[in-house]
Symmetry: C2
Subunit: 187 residues, 2 copies
DNA sequence: GTCTATAAGACGATAGAC
DNA sequence: GTCTATCGTCTTATAGAC
């Protein structure tokens, strides 16, 4: 793998695990055996540019992943439940959720850096759009589809935060039992 | 106000606005005209001890606030809607939600410091207990009351994160339109 | 494109006077 | 209980050799 991709991959994982400020450049560099010179060659504007690139990459990963899950399940309900199952498995393996959430970065950086805020906003918008489209194919109205897409995004992100705080996957499991009825009622 | 309380109040606001790592000790000290010597007299273990004290204080503030709102509204539905209204007002005034959320601290610190994680966990548990009790008085079963309490906490915290990311109160407003039906269905 | 060495500053924390 | 001065350490970022 080329140096640039290696840097992005390593940094993405570390940022998701520890947040932005807690991860030093030296830590990223050590983790993938790259030196400062190389980093500043690929990212002239330094750490923040690296973070934003990571967020763009995450956008693509999440999109293709959700699309794949959605194509395997006809109903939004089954698709969402399968997504949450994957999150739970991910959490129980790594003690943190890598690859899906970026709440640490959002809450740490959204008020500090406008470019980062915009990148995070695009990511959430993207996820909600995927939910929205799936709901439309099931006959939901445009308004209720977008409202439910938002509720799904919010409750899943909130549940992930509770999981991290409690050190347990229970919150995600509980959410999974309640979401089906929400989907049915608002159809 | 005594120096210790002044430090706690100032630090609480700053931590909620900017997160933990982004706020330097010097910034807190300048904001309330206190010197390093005084801070380390009241908090010998430094910044992290100050944070944990802030979280404990936040716990009491949130508890009394939610209890007051709950006593003014008979149904959980009305109480929650009134709570969200207050969050929206808070957000539109300050561009950040001060006094209620601590998501920035959770996601930044939960994986980094075990004492902080425990303090955050206690805070969420407390909030969920308040919801839980209120739901019990309305005749919800014990299990469904605790499940809904969790969903309420998760979806509101998630919505706050979306508000911060999008720089708009719309996510909270949307959540408010959906929560009533969730409360009715699971009764 | 990658390396090392170094700059310049911020950080949390401490010591000792008052 | 509060003050100032200072200590190490860590941080991001740069300069210049290869």
């Amino acid at each position: 793998m080329d140096t640039k991709s290696l840097l992005i991959d390593t940094a993405t994982t570390l940022f998701q695990q520890k947040g932005y400020k807690s991860v030093g450049l030296t830590e990223i560099l050590k983790a993938c055996n790259v030196t400062k010179g190389a980093l500043y060659h690929h990212f002239p504007n330094g750490k923040e540019e690296l973070l934003i690139t990571c967020l763009h990459g995450l956008n693509e990963v999440i999109t293709t992943d959700i699309k794949a899950i959605f194509s395997r399940h006809l109903s939004t309900k089954d698709a969402i439940l399968s997504m949450i199952d994957k999150l739970i498995l991910n959490f129980e393996k790594n003690d943190t959720i890598i690859g899906y959430t970026f709440s640490s970065i959002v809450s740490e950086m959204a008020t500090m850096s406008e470019p980062v805020r915009i990148a995070c906003s695009a990511l959430y918008e993207n996820i909600q759009n995927l939910y929205h489209e799936k709901l439309l194919t099931e006959g939901y109205s445009n308004e209720s589809a977008s409202a439910i897409a938002l509720l799904l995004t919010a409750s899943i992100e909130g549940a992930i935060m509770l999981c991290i705080t409690q050190n347990s996957a229970t919150p995600l499991k509980t959410i999974a039992t309640l979401l089906p009825s929400i989907l049915e009622v608002n159809k």
